[in-house]
Every structure is written in C-alpha cells, then in structure tokens.
C-alpha cells in the first residue's frame, strides 16, 4: 500500500514539476489573494497585521481548492481513471499517494505564502514550533479531506462548482483551529495553541483513515 502511495505521489509530483501549473498559476493566484486582501483592508491601519493568521489560512484554502481540482483534472484526461483502476494499485495506496502529492504542494505553497505575509504585511512572528506543527497538521487535514471530496466531484460536469460547496464547510474546523493556533503563537502564549493542533491532528487522522477506506468504492464505479 505504501509503495503504491509513493508511486502515485511521485507520478503526480513529476507531472507538476514538468507542467509547472502549480508554480505558474496556483502560486501566483495565492500571491494575488494576498494583494487583494491588502486592497480590501487598508494596509496602513494595522488591520492586516492583526488579521494575518486568518488571511494566511484563507489564502491557503482558496489555493488548495485549485490544487485539488488540478490533482483530479490530470486523471480526467485520456481515460486515466480507467488506467488507474486497471493498474492493480491498492485504492488506499492511490488515495494516500494523491494526498501526499497535494500535501507536498500545499506545504511549498504555505512556505512561499508565509514569506509573502512576513514581507508584505510586516507581521510579527513568535512561536515557530507551534506554527510549524499547525502547518503540518492543518495541511494534512486539508489534503486528506480535499482528496476525498476531490474524487467525489471528479469527472463530473459540475465539478468546479461542486467542490467548494462540499469542501469548504467540511474544512471550517481546520480554518478555525489553524487560525486560533497561529494567533496563540503570534500573541506569545503558545500554550493556548497546542489544543488546536491536537484537534487538527485528529481531523487529519480521521479523514485519512476514512478516505483510505472510502476511495475504493468511489474508484470502482462508472
């Protein structure tokens, strides 16, 4: 199962490296969202600095939608879905592989966005350990739920409009948790943030387990 996962993740990441859709379109989109927030909230008023955790994670969520849609768009062409089914790979492995690929892309995106936020919003950062742990747990949660709902919406004529409606309400606990944890890190009392990291981790683990089991039936159909 884990060997299959590595195969699928390697394939997806190689496609992304060669096509550069992530670098050329999704990263600039995330950067654009940062600028748009600055247009919407006066940069001189200090609102940006105070709202940085929320804005950062909103930008991540919106970019994640694009990354997830992209991850399943590459399977839609040329009957790749059938190819995956015929390949004899374990469905749980395929799920974990796609999830790992999305996780990796989002992690890179968060790194770049984090630097962007530091530079553009002149935010103050403390509590690095808490922030890194939050990023890992929250990104795993987004990737786990995103991969599952991504395949629910994949291959449908309504996929672009269906995915946000399905995924964003489900990810609202992740948004709440990651923003609270970042705020705790920023305010210099990381003790308040760690319970939220726990919630994020539980969310990620629960979704990963369910996704690994639920992926088979979803892949078999059609």
């Amino acid at each position: 199962m884990f060997r299959d996962a590595l195969l699928v993740a390697g394939k997806d990441l190689r496609i992304e490296l060669r096509s550069r859709i992530g670098v050329n379109q999704i990263l600039p989109f995330a950067f654009l969202v940062l600028l748009l927030f600055a247009f919407a909230l006066d940069p001189d008023s200090g609102v940006l600095d105070r709202a940085t955790p929320g804005l950062f994670w909103l930008a991540v969520l919106f970019s994640a939608l694009l990354a997830i849609q992209r991850a399943f768009a590459i399977e839609a062409a040329d009957g790749n879905r059938d190819g995956l089914r015929l390949s004899g790979l374990d469905p749980a492995g395929i799920y974990l592989g796609k999830m790992t690929a999305i996780f990796t892309q989002l992690a890179v995106l968060e790194l770049v966005l984090g630097i962007g936020v530091l530079v553009l919003y002149s935010s103050h950062v403390t509590g690095w350990a808490l922030m890194v742990a939050t990023c890992v747990a929250a990104t795993a949660g987004i990737a786990a739920a995103g991969t599952l709902y991504g395949v629910v919406a994949a291959g449908l004529r309504v996929r672009e409009t269906l995915l946000p409606l399905l995924l964003l309400p489900v990810l609202s606990p992740v948004l709440i948790g990651s923003v609270r944890a970042f705020e705790a890190a920023r305010n210099g009392n990381p003790g308040e943030g760690w319970p939220w990291v726990g919630l994020l981790a539980v969310f990620a683990v629960a979704y990963t387990i369910f996704g690994a089991f639920g992926f088979g039936p979803l892949l078999e159909e059609s």
């Binding site: 629910v152 449908l156 309504v158 269906l162 399905l166 309400p169 919630l199 969310f203 639920g214 979803l218």
Partner: protein
C-alpha cells in the same frame, strides 16, 4: 413504409400495461398518519398559544420555543437517518436506503433552514439582534451548508449508480462533520450562553410550558414521518419513471433499427 407498423409492434406491449403500484403517494396508512398529525398540530397550537403561560422574562416570545425545538429535533433526526441510509448504501448497496437518505436529507435541509429563520425571529426581540456569532447558531448555519452540499451531489447529472455512490460517501460523513464542526465552533466561542434546549428542559420551567414542549416534539416527528413517506414514494416513482423511460427509448431505437433493416431488405 409498410414495414413500419409491424416494426413498432414489438414495443407496443412495453407501453401498454398501466403503471405498476399506486399512482399517488398516499395510502390508508399515511392518511391515518396525516390525520394524527393534523390533530396533533391543533392540540399543540392550543397548548403553545393558549394554555401555557407567558415567560416572566421573555413574555410571549417564549412561545416560539414550542415550534423551534421540535423543528430542530426533526432536523437532527433527518441527518441521522441520512447518515444511516448512506452507510447502508455503501454496505448493502441498498436502493431502498438510498431513496430514504435522499428524502430524509431534503426534509432535514428545510427544517434546518426553518430553525435558523425561526431562531432569528426569536433572537431579534430577545437579544435585540437577528444574529450573534454564538456556537449554536454558527454550527446550525454550517449544518445547512453541509446539507446543501449533500443535496447538490444528489442532483449531479450522472448515472444513478454513480450519483448514489458519491452521495453515500458525502452522506456517511454528514453526521461526523456536523459533530466536528459543532465541537470546533463551540471551542471557538466557548464564552457564550449555555445550551438553550437543556435549559428549557430543566424542571425549573413551568409544568404547562414543559408539557407543551414535550407534546410538540412527537407531533413534529409524526409530521416528519408523514413527509418522509410521501417524499420517499415520490422519489421511488421518479426512479421507476427514469428506468421506464430508458427502457422505452431502447425499445424505440430497436424498433427503428428493425424498420431500417426491413427497408433495406425491401430494396
């Protein structure tokens, strides 16, 4: 051209038999259920508006609780049945449960929306605002969105089996998601007032108020059952119609092809 009538003849028996089963969605059982619901509504209305006293603090606006709480209960029961049905679809590949889950989710969606509207109507005179970012309100709004997502999957333009499989995955996660969202929102807003329902159920409230509330909840559940049965039968007939239309289209096409072949033979 003479061959056309004989070619269409095989499809005629398919079209001839009348619809199987009842044409409407009512039956003796549901009529009795409906009657019980109507009587229940009348008695509950009397209890809520006439016999129970106004609240000391809230005055007459407390009477909203007699419709608000029963509707919430129906919404939660609806979600529970949807998740249960979705589990059965994935486990047993049951069409019966698939239709049940869909029908139940629709009722849950409507009752959740009603809960929000009625709750807001109560909040305005009581708290002075239509909306507060209270855990209960926020998570109910999220519940509405989750249900809308589920119903959106139910309406995707795809084959029935694809649709029901995907809807089942979303449906299985409905209740867990509701719980996780509710917990996280409660953590987020932990400073706000305690749960309203449990407060009203505590013995400190007037006996007649408690009785009106306890009476209204089963009445709401009877209405829910009535709606569920009718919506279920409607959905079942819809599905039968879809299958029938497909069969009809296939037999028509076969007849057409047979006609073309016959014409080729004549030439």
């Amino acid at each position: 051209m003479t061959s056309v009538p004989t070619a269409t003849a095989p499809s005629a028996p398919d079209a001839a038999p009348p619809a199987v089963g009842p044409i409407g969605t009512g039956s003796r059982g549901t009529r009795i259920l409906g009657l019980v619901a109507l009587v229940g509504i009348a008695v509950a209305t009397y209890l809520a508006l006439v016999s129970s006293p106004p609240d000391e603090n809230m005055g007459d606006s407390v009477r909203i609780i007699y419709i608000h709480v029963p509707i919430v209960v129906v919404a939660y029961v609806g979600c529970l049945i949807t998740t249960l049905g979705s589990v059965m679809v994935l486990w047993k590949k049951s069409v019966w449960w698939d239709v049940t889950a869909a029908a139940s989710a629709e009722i849950a969606m409507v009752t959740t929306a009603l809960t929000l509207v009625i709750g807001m109507a109560w909040a305005r005179p009581t708290w002075g605002v239509w909306w507060v970012w209270d855990a209960r309100l926020t998570s109910t709004a999220m519940l509405l969105l989750l249900l809308l997502g589920y119903l959106a999957v139910r309406r995707i333009p795809a084959e029935t089996s694809t649709r029901s499989r995907r809807a089942a995955i979303v449906g299985v996660l409905l209740l867990p998601n509701v719980i996780v969202v509710n917990r996280s929102v409660t953590w987020w807003r932990s400073l706000h007032q305690d749960t309203t329902i449990l407060n009203t159920l505590q013995p400190k409230i007037h006996d007649q108020m408690a009785f009106a509330l306890y009476f209204a909840i089963p009445v709401a559940l009877v209405i829910f059952a009535w709606l569920l049965v009718h919506r279920w039968r409607l959905a079942w007939m819809e599905q039968q119609l879809e299958d029938r239309e497909l069969d009809q289209a296939i037999s028509d096409r076969r007849a057409e092809a047979a006609g073309e072949r016959a014409e080729d033979g004549q030439r």
